[in-house]
Symmetry: C2
DNA sequence: ACATATTGATAGTATTACTATTATATTTGC
DNA sequence: GCAAATATAATAGTAATACTATCAATATGT
């Protein structure tokens, strides 16, 4: 089956870039290699100069696409959550049973991620590692309130809102639907971080994912 | 009642500092004002130069206490979790009923924090804000595995392990005690972050704390 | 009073995070 | 096919950061 994404383009908030990187070879190269380089050396050590060397291009050319590395990271994470939202809609549409719908949504945000070949310049498996290791840094800045107003985190909130709605379908009486949904999405990332680095305080081991833990949690809380 | 902490000194991993800041006036001044300055301008904008100006001391003098701002932040967060552990032991000792014990432990890690006047140079209310906004940054670095080996996160893990043990007492059959404990501790910080910045995806509002949400969660999962 | 430790002041370095300018390709429009 | 527009590359430069090193001033302990 041909994946719909081959034809659809993921749209990202225009304020996140100076020039749309999806519209040129260099732009797509920046996206592809910024994912690889960030995964390799981490967000703190990542610089536009090093990225320029990696793609045999110039620092100044990269600045024509992105104002700074923070916005590039927000761009990449927005891309990830957009991709996640697209898959969530796909997987939950036409499912009549709300519990089944919730199970599918939870599975999606908690399972291990593999590359989606429909997007040749984005490796989702590696991008997922960046989300696990760096995503909270996009939020935890002194500019978060302004950036939130500018809509930088809309896609992320939309993914969580979709889960909130499903939770409400499953149990309209439950008073903490929002907190439960945001806990699952953020918590799953955190459990994956722990399984990689602080193994003694998580039950997940190397190849596990967080699906069982959160499915069990949601069912016991809501049913 | 005189708080025990007035007499007890919180011990921090020696690898986190060059010279123990609790042993001099300047050291305690660095601790006190680094908390104030980080809260004010955020960890990214925080520099030893600015801190030096704030305490009318010199950048180079601060470097004699801490190698860099990352280690200072790890020091402050270790201090916080030590203080939390001390209070947790205090609050859970001699409670026979495991469920009551768990409730008290959850309350402690999820409630809003007020200043503890037993520690004149540390303002715990402000330090808690720093934990909410910056704690994950101490973990999410490329050095996390080495620093974990050096014991930088021992106190944090110890707090979580105490909760794991209580969860096991409440329900020895539950298979995800570790993930549940780490979810509660990290998740509570995250919910507090959301209530301050991304209010639409949490049920907590301004003066709420995460206690009700997590107490309800733990009971439904374990009982 | 004198040795020792602590702090302060200054200077210096490499790197980062940009901005500006100019030159050189490449594309496109007619 | 050629001029005009656009994109990219190369270079230089600036202010700030994250330190290190040195030396002077001051306080403390015996």
């Amino acid at each position: 089956m041909q994946n719909l994404l081959s034809n659809l383009k993921i749209t990202i908030n225009e304020k996140l870039y100076v020039k749309d990187p999806e519209t040129s070879e260099l732009g797509r190269n920046i996206l592809k290699n910024s994912i690889l380089l960030m995964d390799e050396i981490g967000f703190e050590a990542f610089t536009f100069k090093k990225l320029g060397e990696k793609i045999q291009s110039n620092e100044s050319s990269i600045y024509r696409y992105f104002e700074n590395k923070h916005k590039l990271l927000v761009y990449l994470t927005s891309w990830y959550w957009s991709w996640m939202e697209y898959r969530m809609v796909f997987v939950t549409t036409n499912i009549a049973n709300p519990v089944e719908k919730l199970e599918k949504a939870i599975k999606l945000v908690t399972e291990n991620v593999a590359d989606d070949h429909a997007t040749p310049h984005i490796n989702e498996e590696i991008l997922n590692r960046i989300i696990v290791e760096e995503f909270t840094k996009t939020l935890m800045t002194k500019e978060v309130d302004n950036e939130n107003k500018e809509g930088f985190f809309l896609v992320y909130k939309r993914v969580i809102n979709r889960i909130i709605e499903i939770i409400k379908e499953v149990n309209p009486e439950y008073p903490f639907a929002k907190s439960l949904a945001s806990s699952i999405v953020e918590g799953a990332l955190h459990q994956h971080f722990l399984k990689n680095h602080l193994k003694t305080i998580t039950n997940l081991s190397e190849k596990d994912c967080a699906t069982d833990f959160y499915t069990d949690m949601a069912k016991k809380i809501l049913l």
